[in-house]
């Protein structure tokens, strides 16, 4: 049934392909905005590139997270998912996995191109991809908690941002840190290990937290929207 949850969300995503591309291009555009705001000096740009790419990744994943449960809630399918004969933990994990596959993986694939825009050396690009591979699942997992909590509150998107961006900060620091290090010749491995640690932790705890959050918000709905 875990599989059918994933399948369901992948199918829905396929029906909304345009979403996926939109998230992708949002990522690309945000990254490209910064030079326009900051100016074309190659040197300066290269030094901020890791931060910019990572921040853009954060924002992009945050945007797509807003839709993670909200859609299901509005049409009442979320109640059904809650009432399926399987641990909510699995449902959440399934939806999170689907979200990662659909919204984050594409970002990882284009990230190197964006890196080139900032003239990052190729080994740095590799580090960038690796950190994203380890970091983005953390974003999805942690983000799902926020998505669950803010479910049904108005302006959920912005609220989610508010709730989960702080939780993203460690990911940002280690992720961007590693890439930075590979430019300035600092300690790469340490950062990556820390990212991995974050991944393990969130993989274990986040789905539980999200499941709890969902239960709470649903109770809230009962009183809030019949």
């Amino acid at each position: 049934m875990f599989r059918s949850v994933v399948a369901r969300d992948l199918m829905l995503a396929w029906r909304r392909r345009s979403d996926v591309f939109a998230t992708l291009f949002f990522f690309v555009i945000v990254v490209s905005l910064f030079p326009l705001g900051i100016g074309p000096e190659t040197q300066l740009l290269r030094s901020i590139a890791p931060g910019v790419v990572w921040v853009a990744a954060l924002l992009a994943s945050m945007l797509s997270l807003g839709r993670m449960f909200a859609n299901d809630e509005q049409d009442g399918t979320l109640e059904q998912l809650l009432l399926t004969p399987q641990p909510l933990y699995l449902v959440v994990l399934g939806k999170t996995l689907a979200q990662w596959l659909v919204s984050e993986v594409p970002l990882i694939l284009v990230a190197p191109l964006l890196g080139m825009q900032f003239n990052l050396p190729s080994e740095t690009l590799i580090v960038l991809v690796v950190t994203l591979l380890i970091g983005t699942p953390v974003l999805s997992l942690v983000g799902s908690i926020g998505a669950g909590l803010t479910l049904g509150l108005r302006g959920a998107n912005v609220l989610i941002a508010l709730l989960i961006l702080p939780l993203y900060i460690p990911v940002l620091i280690f992720g961007a840190g590693a890439v930075d290090a590979s430019i300035s010749g600092g300690e790469i491995a340490a950062n990556i290990y820390l990212l991995a640690a974050l991944l393990v932790v969130s993989l274990v705890f986040a789905p539980w937290a999200t499941a709890a959050a969902l239960r709470i918000s649903m109770e809230y709905f009962l009183t809030s929207d019949i």
Partner: protein, 242 residues
């Protein structure tokens, strides 16, 4: 003869079919000629070596990219104002071709950049504005892709295209201005090399080829779109006939 009758997709469909070869074949011929002249006749550039030959693709592509956007907006506007379905379809067809050329100019430009000034990308004004142009294309295309109802897609696209075309010059000059503001930009890329006659010839031939190619491809896409919409209508009709 009466041209109005061709303003209906159904009537235009066969005409387009007839026209395509008249543009496709010359396009192929000119491409071969242009590339031949460009890569074998035109002399090696004394400062850039062989790398400069990429120009014969790059420059026409860049020009087409910009030009087709304006055309697209024009057709979209017509389609919206006069509720002319064919014009709207034309706009949709142009969008993809234009995006392709823009992308091509970006790629070739980047490839050219590596040998000439040692990096794939710099935030040069022209590069940047070309990139933004690509974004505008993508916005138009994905908006239309998201909307099922073709009539809504046409009109929504038209609004976007028209707003965009008002913005294109603003964007273009703002980017120039931005780039000169920060005196950081060290690389001079578009320094017009004093072009030798065969180079110029190749450039012009390639340009003509791109034109013919665009027309042919757009006509082809137009046919595809017309067919798709007819199928969609009929599919829905039989999908829901009770």
């Amino acid at each position: 003869m009466n041209w109005y009758k061709y303003s209906s997709p159904a009537a235009f469909y066969p005409l387009a079919g007839k026209l395509i070869p008249w543009f496709a074949i010359p396009a192929i011929v000119l491409f071969t000629v242009g590339l031949y002249v460009g890569f074998f006749v035109a002399p090696t550039d004394f400062q850039q070596g062989e790398a400069y030959r990429i120009m014969f693709i790059h420059v026409p592509a860049a020009w087409m990219g910009m030009l087709l956007y304006v055309l697209m907006a024009f057709y979209a506007g017509i389609g919206w104002a006069f509720n002319a379905r064919l014009a709207s379809m034309m706009a949709s067809a142009l969008a993809i071709t234009g995006a392709m050329f823009t992308l091509l100019s970006l790629v070739t430009g980047a490839l050219w950049g590596k040998p000439t000034w040692g990096t794939y990308w710099a935030w040069d004004a022209r590069m940047t504005s070309t990139l933004i142009l690509l974004f505008l294309y993508i916005g138009f295309i994905s908006l239309q892709a998201t909307i099922e109802d073709p009539r809504r897609a046409d009109r929504a696209g038209a609004v976007l295209a028209v707003v965009g075309v008002i913005n294109v010059p603003i964007i273009y000059f703002s980017v120039q201005w931005w780039n000169t503001l920060h005196q950081g930009a060290t690389i001079r890329m578009m320094g017009k090399p004093t072009i030798a006659a065969p180079m110029l010839a190749a450039l012009l031939i390639m340009l003509a080829a791109c034109w013919l190619y665009s027309i042919a491809v757009v006509l082809y896409r137009l046919r595809v779109i017309i067919r798709e919409r007819e199928q969609r209508a009929s599919w829905l009709a039989q999908g829901t006939a009770s």
